[in-house]
Every structure is written in structure tokens, then in C-alpha cells.
Symmetry: C2
Subunit: 411 residues, 2 copies
């Protein structure tokens, strides 16, 4: 199995070695994502699975059961951020395929059909809109995003249609409630809690969905050499303290609360961004996460208050737009408990935790009993070329998924 | 004259009205700069001046004198920053042409030839390299800049050659010392000192050349939702205090020093700049100016010290590159005194000051007696669509330049 995992990991990542200093770039609905899906189809065919795609670009490899439905579903995604790692998403697809291989080798006969899914465009890296594929399957995609553009001006609609699909048919990707029994996703942790607690896998209770703010400050551009310090309306100087504040206040709030909170100024645009011009306009993107929605709201409100103070102090105009404000998602208690028990029966130590990152499972959980398994990734490094899970961690994932699928599909 | 100034101002700016909400964009060696030079040639021809260009793209409109040389030269530039104003550069060319018109109308016969110059590519907006035209005339252009690129990847060499010139001949633009008697530039102040001191024009003693630093911080990218606050190496959080420090320290140093100092974090690049990724890499551009070179050095040293503290505190790696470090330029005392006297004899109140911005005159001053006249621009707003000097200010400029040229070319 180890050899098969190593080989298939590289196949899904379209590389000969996982040592890629510039990382992996497979944006949603890009040629690179399609290539990776093609590699997935090849592996699925080798395992005698039937592959089909839907109108959102999701791909399913199906093992027929004694009954036609409901389906036991597992999987994740194959797209990445820019210069990301080779495990985020891929690990879940790979371990699902590995579990199928194991079950086939054991001669298991599923009662329920099993489907391994590759959800399309999970990352928000390209359009700022995440989990387009799984939202479509759950029937919760907001079609008003069709004209949201990537940084080259390509809209979501255009990107999807460039892969041969028809945007106006995307609703057809929705699956009826009675067609699916349960969904289990496996993903890399993208943090160090499993490692810190000397566990082997994480079992996730809730997914922290973000509040995302766009803070825009308008001051006054001017010549850097001729505008005295006291006469400036420098938008960058006005917002610099906000960067420090977001970091310090998130750390403070997190320390005094029962649930963790993280907040990040992650994007920034400076205009006109010329060496001899005072910055007249700044845009900051802020990402706030906690499974405790009220703590998240508290942090956002503090940022808004801080902006009011900075606006007056630095004589600039600050506007704040809320891009995203989704409540956090709790996963299915019964399924989660049974996944946890399955892992522990295999001798693995579990750690119960929350997920700071959004995953496809949060959309599936809106409609079907769903669970999320984390496997460790070294030093918590993710969305980075150095992202790495060991073959032993992937093996743990295969072991647990094998047990879970056997139980779910055999019942 | 007022009507002619208004009409010619618009002609040189290639517009029908100076009210341009998105400003003026004529980058160095662009099609737009060439169009403006074409408009200059038309006006020069109407004034019966002979126009010629050199191998650096500078354009000269010449009024022959009784002797062949040395030439009395005046003028400025026609290129702008992106979305800049219509007076920076243009005012100096316009007032020079206006002075010629006035002298011709008076029947003045110059002993020395007079040349009105439009120096090519004065602004650093396109390449980060300023005053390419006047450096070439003074013979101090560093030819190693040939491969410096604009943000579209076009090199200086390619840009110059796209206008029909040959980079390998650019040295031919140098003028021998004995060919030029003196150079007087008129420019908008780009500040409010003239206005603050209730004067009509500024007479400049020295030009503050910048120290420019590029500060690069490398931390570690990571997922914004899964990396606890205490485990981050956020490059943006590490450099945010530097933005505040540069502004506060410049204000403090300036207040306790005999010469003013300004310092600005003017450019910024954040990588990967994705909503769900912690900034792993930041680049800041810092522009420091004062005619007091030691004060400028002191500010740069303080920035370097501050970076050492931030590097340790935030566990990131900081590298600092010095892009530019030029000593400040003192203008010709005798010529400056005579320009000042000429203005005062016309009843205008002068204010002696330093220039925080670099101008073509600083290169000319390296070789020939040179002076710089400032006219006011409203509220000191410059490099901005709202940049504005009144027709009355331009008239003041014409009056003073007329007197100066009459004196310099008549002697």
C-alpha cells in the first residue's frame, strides 16, 4: 500500500517528485485542475470504478452496491492555491481511493454504493469564492457570483464554461437528500494540534467559517519630497496600526476565550504604489475565524471601532465592506462519534478539535450527516510548497477510512 | 498673454479642458509623451523657433543669437506620473515659451542663443529611474540602467528605441561645457511654503536628493484559519510597525533639526496576497529626503536599526537594499541671487527655500551655473489630478523668466 500511495500521490499531483520548490498551482476550473482530474479518472478506472462528472465539474468514482442508493460518499478536492502544497485536498482523494483498493482486496461487497468525489474549485484562491463544487452538490450555490472575476478579469461563469460546462445548467449538479446516506471527508490538519497533543488523527466537531472584511482607506496622494510630514493624509500610515491591532487583539481575545480565534490581514493593495508618491489609497482584506460565532463578531466589531479612531486620528476616510459572514458549522455528532471509535479501535489516538479552515464537508453537512477526519501535516505548514504529510500519516488515513466505509456501506 | 497661456497649457497637455478627473498620464518614452512633444514643436514653430531633438529624446526650441554659443537654456519636462497633474513639468516649458513670445513681441535681440528644452522622462514613475533626459545632456547617465524594466517588462533601452532612437548613441546627447552659459528651470512648488510665507515665487538654494531603501521581510505563509496566532511568522505584521515608525521618526527628526526631513513608505508588495493565506513575504519601498545629507543618513540608519529589532521580535528575516543614495545639490549662488533680484524688481515677493523633490536642474547644475524658480500650486497638491496653478501664477513665472532671459541672453 505504501508504494501505491507514493505513486498515486505523485500521479494526482502531476509530478515525478513531491519536492517542488515553487509548489503546486492548480486553480479552480483551470487546465491544471482538469489534468489532475484526468489522473484521478485513470486511477479510478484501474480500481474498476465507474467515473462520471456533473454540471459543476465535480467528478465521482462509483463502486456499485447491492442497492442503488443511498450512496456513502467520501473524498475532497484536487485544486490548490497558487504555489500551494501537494496534500491539501489530494490527501482526502488519495486516502479514499486507497480505502477502496483495500476493501476490494479484502473482497468486501458493499450494500450501499460508495462514491469517491473530487469537488471542483474548493479554494477561494482564484475568485475569492470557495467550495463551488460542493455548494452545487448541496444545492446552496449562490448563482449571483457568476460575474465575480479572477485577477485576469475572467468570470466564474466564463471559467466554468471554458471547461466545456454550461453555467445555466449548474443547478443540475444538486443531489437529492435521499440519494446520499453520509459524507466523510479526510483532510490534512493545516495546524499542529494533533501533533501538539501527541495524537494520530483529529476528529472535527465544528468548522469555523470566516467573517471577511475589506477595509478601504482614502487619504491624499502627493509628492513624497515636497509634502511636509505634518501636512499629509497618508492612507498607509493610517492603516498600519490596524495591522498590528488585528494581530494583537486576536491573540488577546483568543487567550481569554474558551474557543480559539484567529484574525489576519492577508491582502493589501497600495495606490498609486510609486516610489515618489504618498499612498493615497489602501485596501486591506481581513479574515477572522472561530467556531464561536459571537467571538468572531466581537473581533469584527473591534476592528470597525478601531477604524473609526484611525479615521479621525489620521484624517482619512475609511469604508468597511463585509465580504463574507457565515455562521460556523457543527458536524454530525453520531457519525463523528462512530468515525472516532473506528480510528481508536485500530489503535490510533484521536484528538477532538475544531477546524479553523473551511472545507467541502461544511456544505455537505448542510444536507447530509457528515464527518471530517484530519491527518497531521508537518509543523502545520500548509498553502505552501513545504506542506507535507508522511506516508505513514496517509496510511493512517487509509486505515480509518477503510473501517468507516466498511461500516457505513456494509450496514 | 493670459489667453495664450490657457490655450497653450491645454495644447501641451493634449486636452480641451484642464478638468480631468482621472488626471494626466504621459510616462517617459511613451506614445503620450511623444504626442506632447509634438504639441510643443507646433507652438515653438509658431514662435519662429528652430526645433531639434537629441539622442536621448530631449527636444530643444532654439532662438538664434548674435553669437553661436554659449546658449542660455531654460525649460523642464512634459512626461508625468500615472494619473498625475497637468502642471508638473509643463509649467516650466509653458512659461519658457511665454517668455520667448514676450521677448519677441518686445523686439528683443538676443546676444546669446536661447534654447527652451523639454527633457525626456524626468519622472521615476515608469522605471524607478528619474531625469534620464537631463542626465544624458549633462553626461552623467549611468548606462547600466539599460535593462531596468517597467511593470510590463519593457526595459529602458527598449522604451527609448521604441521612439526611434538608438540606445548605443545616447552618449551623443551630452553637451560640452562651453556650449551652455546657464540653465534656469521653472517648476511648480509641489508644497505650500510659498503660500505659507505669503510670497509670490520661490527661489531654490538646494535640491534634496533621496535615499531610497527597499526593505524585504520573509516570514512564513500559512493557512489563515489553522495557524494559531502564537505560531505565526507573519511578514506583514512584522513590518507594520516600521510604517508607523518611519512617519513618526521623520516628523520628530524634522522638528528638532534646522533643515526639514521627509520620509515615506511609498510602495508595498504583499505575497501571496490571498484572502486565506498569511503574508509570507513583504517588500516596502522607502523614500527619504532632506537637503541635509547627514540628516537623511541618520534617518536611514534609524530605519536599519528598527528593522533589526523587528526581525528578532517577529521572527522573520529582513533584508535592506539601498536603491538610491545621492548627495543633495546646491544651486549656483550668483545666478540664484540674480534670478531672485529680477523677480523682486518686478514687485514679486520671493521666498528662499530648498526643494524636496528632484528636478532636471540638479543634473544641469553638475556642469553649468543653474537656478530653480518655483511658482505656487494650490494647497501643495501634486502628482494628482487636482494639481493646479492659477493663470496668475503662470503669468508671474513668465514675467520673471522674461527678465532673467533678457538679462542672461543680453549680456
Amino acid at each position: 500500500m505504501n508504494e501505491w500511495l507514493e505513486k498515486t500521490l505523485k500521479e494526482l499531483n502531476l509530478v515525478d517528485t513531491m519536492d517542488q520548490p515553487i509548489g503546486f498551482t492548480r486553480l479552480g476550473y483551470s487546465v491544471e485542475e482538469l489534468e489532475s482530474i484526468k489522473a484521478f479518472k485513470k486511477v479510478a478506472n484501474e480500481l474498476d470504478l465507474m467515473v462520471h462528472s456533473d454540471q459543476a465539474g465535480n467528478t465521482f468514482a462509483r463502486w456499485e452496491g447491492a442497492t442503488d442508493f443511498p450512496v456513502v460518499m467520501t473524498g475532497s478536492h484536487l485544486d490548490t492555491v497558487e504555489s500551494g502544497g501537494g496534500y491539501d485536498g489530494v490527501a482526502g482523494v488519495l486516502c479514499a481511493l486507497g480505502a477502496i483498493k483495500r476493501l476490494k482486496e479484502k473482497g468486501f461487497q458493499p450494500k450501499h454504493p460508495i462514491e469517491v468525489v473530487c469537488f471542483a474549485s474548493e479554494e477561494s484562491a482564484r475568485f475569492g469564492v470557495s467550495t463551488i463544487g460542493s455548494k452545487s452538490v448541496a444545492g446552496i450555490l449562490d448563482k449571483s457570483v457568476e460575474n465575480v472575476q479572477d485577477r485576469h478579469g475572467v468570470t466564474i461563469k466564463e471559467a466554468i464554461e471554458s471547461t466545456g460546462l454550461n453555467w445555466s445548467n449548474i443547478e443540475e449538479a444538486e443531489r437529492p437528500k435521499n440519494e446520499i446516506k453520509s459524507f466523510v471527508e479526510l483532510h490534512i490538519e493545516q495546524g499542529t494540534q494533533i501533533e501538539d497533543h501527541r495524537a494520530h488523527f483529529g476528529i472535527v466537531r465544528g468548522v469555523a467559517c470566516p467573517i471577511r472584511l475589506k477595509v478601504k482607506a482614502t487619504g491624499m496622494a502627493g509628492h513624497t519630497g515636497t509634502t511636509p510630514m505634518g501636512k499629509r493624509k497618508d492612507a498607509l500610515v493610517a492603516l498600519a496600526p490596524l495591522i498590528t491591532y488585528v494581530s494583537q487583539e486576536a491573540e488577546r481575545l483568543s487567550a481569554i476565550s474558551s474557543k480559539p480565534l484567529v484574525a489576519t490581514v492577508s491582502t493589501m493593495e497600495v495606490k498609486p504604489n510609486g516610489m515618489n508618491v504618498i499612498p493615497g489609497y489602501i485596501e486591506l482584506g481581513i479574515d477572522i475565524r472561530s467556531v464561536d460565532d459571537s467571538l468572531k463578531r466581537q473581533m469584527a466589531d473591534k476592528i470597525i471601532q478601531k477604524c473609526t479612531i484611525l479615521e479621525t486620528k489620521f484624517n482619512v476616510t475609511i469604508n468597511i465592506e463585509t465580504l463574507v459572514d457565515n455562521p460556523s458549522i457543527l458536524l454530525d455528532e453520531k457519525l463523528t462519534a462512530s468515525v472516532k471509535a473506528a480510528g481508536e479501535q485500530l489503535g490510533y489516538i484521536s484528538y477532538e478539535m475544531d477546524s479553523g479552515a473551511g472545507h467541502d464537508v461544511m456544505n455537505m453537512a448542510a444536507k447530509w450527516p457528515s464527518a471530517l477526519i484530519f491527518i497531521p501535516c508537518e509543523e502545520g505548514i500548509s498553502h505552501h510548497p513545504k506542506e507535507h504529510s508522511t506516508i505513514s500519516d496517509l496510511q493512517t488515513g487509509v486505515d480509518i477510512l477503510t473501517a468507516v466505509l466498511q461500516q457505513e456501506a456494509g450496514e
